[in-house]
Every structure is written in C-alpha cells, then in structure tokens.
Symmetry: C2
Subunit: 312 residues, 2 copies
C-alpha cells in the first residue's frame, strides 16, 4: 500500500491528503435539511448529512489527490450512526481510487492492539468466515504503550500489505508537554526523537520499494523538529497535519520532504472541506457550491506546496 | 460519578472492576451456535454472541461488583455490529446499577478530543436535539498529546458529572520504553511520574467529595511504581489493570490503595470472564456454567484483595 500511495502521489503530482473531518457547522444547510427531512434531527439524520457532504467533497476532488484521511472521532461522536457514515465514506473513497488513511490514533496493550489492527486494517475470524470490518488502507497509531502496542499493527500490515502512521510529534500547541521532554539516557535529546528512532527501527523490517509502510505523524506547526525527524527517519513517509487552519504554511513544509521530492504527505481538513466558509473563499463561493470551493482550495494548496518545494 | 463509584465500592466492599473483553474463544460453543443459527457466521452473529455472553456474565456478578470496564477494541474489531454490542452492554450494565468505565484510550488534538468526549461521555447537538451516543460513565484517555488533548474531556466531565482515567503507567511489558524514560529537566525522574503530576494537577480542579474525577491507570504489574504514584496523586482514583491473567497478585496491590482503604479499583478481565477455561476452575465448571465460574472468580479475587489489604 505504501508503494501505491507513492505512485498515486507521483501520478497526481500532489503530496496532499484531504482530511474528511465533517462537523455539523461545516455542512451546508440544504444538505442537513434534506437529511433531517427524512430521518429527523437524529443521530441517523446527522450520519446521513455527513455522508452526503463527504460524497460531494470526494466527487469534487478525487481526481486531484492521492488520499483522504477521515478522522474517526468526528463520526464516533454520533455513535453507531456516525460510524456507519465513516464506513460508507471509506468504501466510497476506495471505489474512487483513493488511498484511505483512518485517523484513529488507537494503541493499547498487545492483545488489545491486535483487536484494533484486525478491525481496521485486517480481517476478523468468525467461525469459518472472515471479514474486513472497517478496511482502511492505513491507520494512525499512538506509541505511548511502546513496542508491544505497535507490533500487532505491524503483523497485520505485513499480512494485508497495509501501513500505519505512528504519532511522533503532534501538531497541537501542548504537544511538547511530554513529547519534548529531554531524556537523560539519550544525551538529553527529546522524547519525540527517540520515538522517531523507534519508528525507523520498526519500519526497517517493513520496507516497501523505497519507503517503509511504517510512517510517522509530525505536525506542520513544528517545522524545525520536522527537519531533524526527517534525518532520523530517512525511509519513513511522514504524514503532516496542521497545514492551513492550524497555522502551517507551504514554506514550513519543505524540510519534511526528502531530496527525491517524496517522503511527506500533507493533510488539510477544515481548510479544504469548509473552504466556502473561509475569509478567502466566502465571497466567491456559497453553500450551494461548497464542493467547488473545496476543489479550489485543493488546487491552491497543491500550488503552495509545489512552489515551496521548487524554491527550496 | 466518582462519588457514586466510591459509594458502590464501599457498599459492595469490593474495589473490583470486571473487564468485559469478550473474544470468540472465550464464548461457549452453545452461545455461538445459537447466535450463528439466527445470523450466520457473520459480524452480526458475532455481535449477538458477544452480547448474550456479556449479559450472562453481568447477571451472574452484578450484585458483587461496583463497576465494569468493557474494552471497546474487542467490540470494534467486529465493526459496526461489534459496536452495537458494545452499546447494548453499556446500557444493560447501567440498568443493573453498575458504573461503566469505557476503556477507549482515546486522545487527540483539542477539537478532536472534544468530539470523542462528546460521543462517549457527553451529548452531541443535532439541530435542536441532543443525544448521548455511547454514554459511558468514565472513559480512559491517552495523555501523549498533552493538556489540550485531555482538557476537552474535563470540560465534558464537569458538565455531565462523569470522569476519566488517564494512562500513566500501563501494565504491558514494553510500557517502560517511553513511559520510564528519565527526564533531564525533572531531576531524572521518569516520564510516568511527570504524567502523574499532571493528572494530579488536572484533577485538583475536578474534585468530588474526597477523590478527583480525573483518575489514573497504573498497571498491577508495576507495584513499586504504583507506590510512588500513589504518593504523587493522593486524591486520584487509580484504575489498576494487569491483575490475574497479566500476572498481578493481591499482595502487589496494597500500595495502590490509600490509608482510607480506598483510592484504587482493580480490573480483571480474562481471569473472570474466561474463568471456566482456566486451570483452576476448568475441572469444577464447564461451558454450561461459565457464568458461575465467573462469579466464583470474582469472589476469590475479592477475598485475595481483602486479605492483602488486611495483612498490610
């Protein structure tokens, strides 16, 4: 799957992933009204509105991008009905040829991580039958529990030719609280570097053609740390959240890439899917053509990153 | 909810939580056959088998224990149908007067953690209506993202009078890889102690009568660390996994408790729900009376912990 992701990035010339993180306030009134008119203002109604919203966004941008990253929390907040919309979104995106990165940030003790790995990336056995319940192509994983919390994901990835992105340095303001702590037994280097070294180690036994299928998450909001982590994890695909709405700019991203122009894939969520509500686009686009605004925002993001990479 | 949890612990004289972590191999053949005869060897069949299994376990032990802790991964591995069984289990346990700790180990950047908090502990707004999608009483939370990943859970807890347990030192073998790292800027104390201090700090503004509704997870498998963490977090309820199948014993647990005999609640999963398969019980119990074996195992665990606390 890492080879396919890279081929799609090259084919579409866009190291970009669109975060499908719908909230009720991003969804145009007309879509909500239609869903509520059938299902009422219910969890099912919300699920339907999310699914219709996603579908229009995907239809408008799928030819431009290699991958999408639905954030499962945005679906899980609507319970079972939200998760049904999550699953529909995954299936639809795959039918459009997109690589799907499930932003699930799971991670637990071994036997429990194995259950998450099976449910999201693998197949679960029931009697003589087996099923792929959520069936994302990649999943994000939290490393706090150490190797035996990550290992079960690697086992499933090897079997299914899928991949993971391990949280190394997250994009949020307080990520440094624990992640930046200097470690006495590692020459005072920060924890995120040591996690990065582990990712590199885990990845070495999970190599695709040029990149490992054990990737890392490093926030666009910390470009200097990205530069160091790029060197620590040379064969690691870095998933870079925090571009756009969270403050990351194209120029901040150059050091996340390798000299081959690859090695990073940048996510934008709100900046794309709610572009029609942004200062920049709200005069040109309205609720009726929210999906066109998303397309314009993808094109602009693609240009921003390409320009930054060329100038480097 | 923390006050209620403590009252239930006192009333039942049992600082015990039963982990409802069903797997296909724990479920007696007769339950599986019945479920499969209606739904086939499908995800729905698995969900039904899990739900019937849980129901019998709960019926057999609910009068002895204050709380249950379903591990969501064990349900999520069966996709939507598994999560329907998770939700049914929560509702049923609450109807039996049990406190429900959702072992979800979620944690993300602020806006995303807010979605998890709303979906699991709070209410989600849809138009003019609001719904409590999963509605557990407590949830476990991963701290790797720092304060702004935890804060949204606290906000919801304050509003809903619920609580969380933050992962501090987990029970698994490789938990030390990152959690035990000595921090140069904290007098070489390990990361888990610093996370413990944060839990204490977050908890100070979330006090119930005597304990905070910000609890901590500390594995029974690390009793010496539990002793230190008990002192660092005096007002924190500690959820202690790792008893039984993972190797923790009653005598290991005494230092997790305060002098008031409270402050900790010990989880056992496999050791209870799959007791009928264990060396100890397999000659006395069979598949037909698996729930009686679970009851016997709860009584034995209660005795083990009570004896250890008395001898201390």
């Amino acid at each position: 799957m890492i080879n396919r992701l890279i081929k799609e990035i090259q084919k579409k010339n866009a190291p970009i992933v669109v975060g499908l993180d719908p909230t009720m306030k991003f969804i145009p009134g007309s879509i909500k009204e239609k869903a509520f008119s059938v299902y009422g203002e219910t969890l099912q109604g919300a699920g339907e509105a999310i699914w219709q919203f996603n579908k229009e966004i995907v239809d408008a941008v799928y030819d431009l991008i290699p991958a999408v990253k639905p954030q499962i929390a945005m679906y899980e907040q609507f319970g079972i009905e939200g998760l049904i919309a999550y699953k529909k979104t995954i299936d639809y995106c795959k039918s459009k040829g997109l690589v799907v990165i499930g932003d699930i940030k799971r991670g637990d003790i071994g036997s429990t991580s194995a259950a998450y790995a099976v449910g999201h990336l693998g197949k679960v056995q029931i009697g003589n039958e087996s099923y792929a319940p959520f069936d994302e192509d990649f999943a994000t994983v939290n490393p706090y529990l150490g190797t035996d919390g990550v290992k079960p994901f690697l086992d499933v990835c090897k079997e299914e030719k899928k991949g993971i992105f391990v949280l190394v340095k997250t994009s949020n303001p307080s990520s440094g609280e624990f992640q930046d702590q200097k470690l006495a037994d590692a020459d005072n280097r920060p924890l995120y570097e040591i996690v990065g070294e582990k990712v590199n180690e885990w990845g070495a036994e999970c190599m695709g053609e040029n990149y490992s299928y054990v990737g890392a998450v490093v926030g666009a909001t910390y470009p200097e740390m990205g530069k160091v982590l790029r060197k620590i994890m040379p064969k690691t695909m870095i998933l870079v959240p925090g571009y756009g709405a969270q403050g990351g700019k194209g120029a901040d991203l150059v050091h996340f890439f390798n000299e081959d122009g690859l090695g990073a894939i940048v996510n934008s969520s709100r900046g794309i899917i709610a572009a029609y509500q942004s200062e920049k686009y709200k005069d040109t686009y309205s609720e009726e053509n929210f999906a066109d605004a998303a397309r314009a925002a993808v094109l602009e993001m693609k240009e921003d990153i390409a320009t930054a990479l060329e100038q480097n």
